[in-house]
Symmetry: C2
Subunit: 483 residues, 2 copies
């Protein structure tokens, strides 16, 4: 159904407006003045920053299944309703993993004076199994890559605590490849404990994946099969280095206590809010971030800034009384961090109408300054984004970078259905200093940068939602590709 409110009689306009929950003017389409107006309106607003304060100060951590996550669903849904968006809570069953006690102590090593032990700062990885309440005491085997572990006989690994002491490459992050640096190191967080379990280890530790060294461990999910309950933790960079140094002096023994629990799956929701299109309301442009966070920090960068940027899109269109041709759909995804059950539920619900999804944008790389947009649109269609680039240029965000496959986090499934995905190009050189740590807090978000995130997202969403020509479909990755 196409609606063109301007051509309808007054009463019908009123009815349509009530339906959408807000009065609105004619859409100005993609003329440069409209794009500039959206951009500049966002840049003069504190809306996203205030919503981020609400989310992080009033609620804080939002791990799937937690009271915080439930409160966040409520807070964000209420706010989006207040803006006049059509809000739906999409049910999602989420994992419910709860951190317990966590303690590490080196109780034996060469040169240790009587009565002395060294405290090891660590934190359980999401999905970790538990030690007995009193902990375990076991020798530590320090390795520096997968091959080094594989070279051991299982008998040499059995019963030991395996530590993957693999550094994060901050120099790589500093030259603009933070994601790649993360990818290299996080492979050990993901697959290391599983491999250690296969070789009979009693527990697995990984060096914290991140760039700063303030003795804070970075949590995150590990990929253990459902029937493997290996205790698995991240160790602070300092303590991983300490254990590596001590292992060069002789055998070391650790007392390790980790008592997380995996509770039955919990009820939760994706928050979906439509700013209904005036001409093609069934065609959808998604703008999104994820609402869940890890439990240590308050998830300001990961991903409060993404969610509140998406909220700002609707806020700004309402403020300007702008109505797009296609529907702009805000999604606050649930459970990106440890299961992506929110994305899975959404994908399942739209799989028969995937072709109506014109584009999906997620902002989940932290709130560093954005320089432009990445997209998995067909190469031939890049040139049609020139007016968007022009509109973002005054923000220093004129980059338009195309790749075959982008869809990270929550958008991977949609991209596999052919939906072009978008994300901002960000200076993320210091993102992994805070990522998944207790220090991912409100104060780390620069309000000017957050405005830029919201401005890039809003302008891009508006541009796509009003594009006259089709932007094309994403290349469906081969089955053997990325998962």
């Amino acid at each position: 159904m196409n609606r063109r409110p301007c051509r309808l009689p007054a009463l019908t306009i009123l009815a349509a407006s009530l339906l959408a929950g807000a009065a609105h003017a004619a859409t100005p389409g993609n003329d440069p003045a409209a794009l500039a107006k959206i951009r500049d309106t966002v840049m003069q607003s504190n809306y996203a920053y205030e919503r981020l304060a609400d989310l992080t100060d009033l609620i804080g951590p939002r791990l799937s299944g937690s009271t915080g996550a439930a409160a966040a669903v409520q807070q964000v849904a209420d706010e989006l309703k207040k803006l006049g968006a059509k809000v739906t809570l999409q049910p999602v069953k989420v994992p419910h993993w709860v951190r317990g006690e966590e303690k590490g102590e080196l109780v034996g090593y060469s040169g240790r004076p009587d009565g002395v032990s060294q405290r090891i700062v660590l934190t359980a990885l999401g999905g970790s199994g538990a030690t007995p309440a009193g902990g375990i005491t076991a020798p530590v085997l320090v390795v520096h890559n997968f091959d080094e572990l594989k070279a051991y006989k299982p008998a040499d690994v059995k019963g030991k605590i395996v530590l993957f002491d693999v550094p994060f490459d901050q120099l790589m992050a500093d030259r603009g490849l933070a994601g790649n640096a993360y990818g290299q190191a996080v492979a050990y967080r993901g697959a290391g404990p599983r491999m250690a379990a296969q070789m009979g280890a009693a527990a697995a530790l990984v060096r914290a994946v991140g760039g700063a060294a303030y003795r804070i461990p970075h949590t995150g999910a590990t990929q253990l099969p459902a029937d493997v309950k290996l205790p698995a933790a991240a160790v602070s960079i300092e303590d991983s280095m300490l254990m590596d140094r001590l292992s060069k002096r002789g055998p070391i023994t650790m007392h390790l206590t980790l008592t997380p629990q995996t509770l039955p799956d919990a009820d939760s929701y994706n928050v979906i809010a439509d700013w209904t299109g005036s001409e093609k309301p069934d065609e959808i442009v998604i703008v999104s971030g994820h609402l869940d966070s890890w439990d240590l920090g308050t998830g300001a960068n990961d991903d409060g800034s993404g969610v509140t940027s998406a909220m700002q899109v609707i806020h700004t269109l309402k403020q300007l009384d702008f109505r797009p041709k296609r529907t702009i759909r805000v999604i606050a995804w649930m459970n990106e961090e440890n299961g992506q059950r929110g994305a899975n539920a959404y994908n399942e619900s739209v799989k028969s109408t995937a072709e109506k999804h014109i584009a999906a944008y997620e902002d989940d790389g932290g709130s560093g300054r954005p320089f432009g947009v990445k997209a998995s649109v067909p190469l031939a269609n890049v040139k049609m984004f020139a007016p968007l680039q022009q509109a973002l240029l005054p923000l220093g965000a004129g980059v338009f970078h195309r790749e075959d496959v982008i869809g990270s986090g929550d958008l991977f499934g949609l991209e596999r259905m052919g939906v072009p995905t978008f994300e901002p190009v960000i200076d993320s050189s210091d993102y992994f200093n805070y990522h998944h740590t207790p220090a991912d807090t409100f104060d780390k978000v620069n309000p000017d940068n957050l405005r830029r995130h919201a401005a890039v997202m809003a302008t891009t969403a508006w541009f796509i939602a009003n594009a006259d020509a089709p932007i094309g479909r994403a290349a469906v990755p081969a089955e053997t590709g990325r998962h």
Copy 2:
């Protein structure tokens, strides 16, 4: 007694050597080649760095009264004996304060969703009293300076948890005034809890004194009268800011648990090691750092680097077979952090022979790059240090900065007895990022910088120990001065 070994018969030389614990050649005095030799020998050595690894990796935290502190006394004394120094353990009764459980949680604030609370990362200040084991629940009063607290009526403070949300001025630290920035902020850690107690507060919190924000609180001593057992803690910068923001939304309530214990004073020691002078053995030049550390980190910067630099002085003179005219005395002070009982005991023991102390050098400002030396010698005598400046110039450490009063930490008492005190001039712009936190660990010490600290200290000590003219006495500060 003056000894000139070169002029004595062979047998006497042997006896004298055995007495000092090592064979040694004639002193080359203060000729430039000797100063350069000492400097360059240190700069080619890993000795201090290896000793720092032993101290921090094998022992770790060394708070006064702890097993770690006792092990450190043993380790350092054994090593100095091995070098052939004349080692004395000077008994010192030290405070024995032990950290307990520490937990903070905001359980009430305007806008708080049901069931949600915010965790506050905090750590007890040295000397803090304890809450009941189950903690206390009380309203929080956020203030930003002493005057703001004083402006309240006692009835408004009574029973409340007072938070001093006073930021550390990192910009000041960045322009070379880290010590001043620390001084400004640490005034609240020192005196804030006492003032809060006087006004009837139930507990006192101070914003962590330091420059980096990784949600790690910085501990340190607070100055409570012996009969005041107020619970007092440092709150992470992030959480202090959070509480300040929430207090602007309405009243906030905190649940606070701090269960440190003050045990009976414990037996400990200053480690004193003499590298006996050949001509004026009773004239003393002290080189020193403090051996105790806070309990959270491993005290690599505060002050493992100072102690191991001082050890390197003797190691280098032994390696070169250099014997100074005056005695160079290494002191590893005990209890600098929470009582300065080591310094007090030493001062008491030398008060009748203070005039035999020619100079005292302490290195306790972290292991950032040193640029020269500060000294409280008489203004007229500065020019005699020109050869020392020349010798340190190739290290980029040619600054010689005179002040009336220097003696900080352990040297204040000696300076008040007229002993000129010395310390390195250091780039300490990032020192307070780690100071008194869990992150003050071995990896934070750059081995090249540590060599420079030891080289500046060794060259300066040699220069003073062999000076022909008296370097003069420090101006004794007025009684109304600094304490």
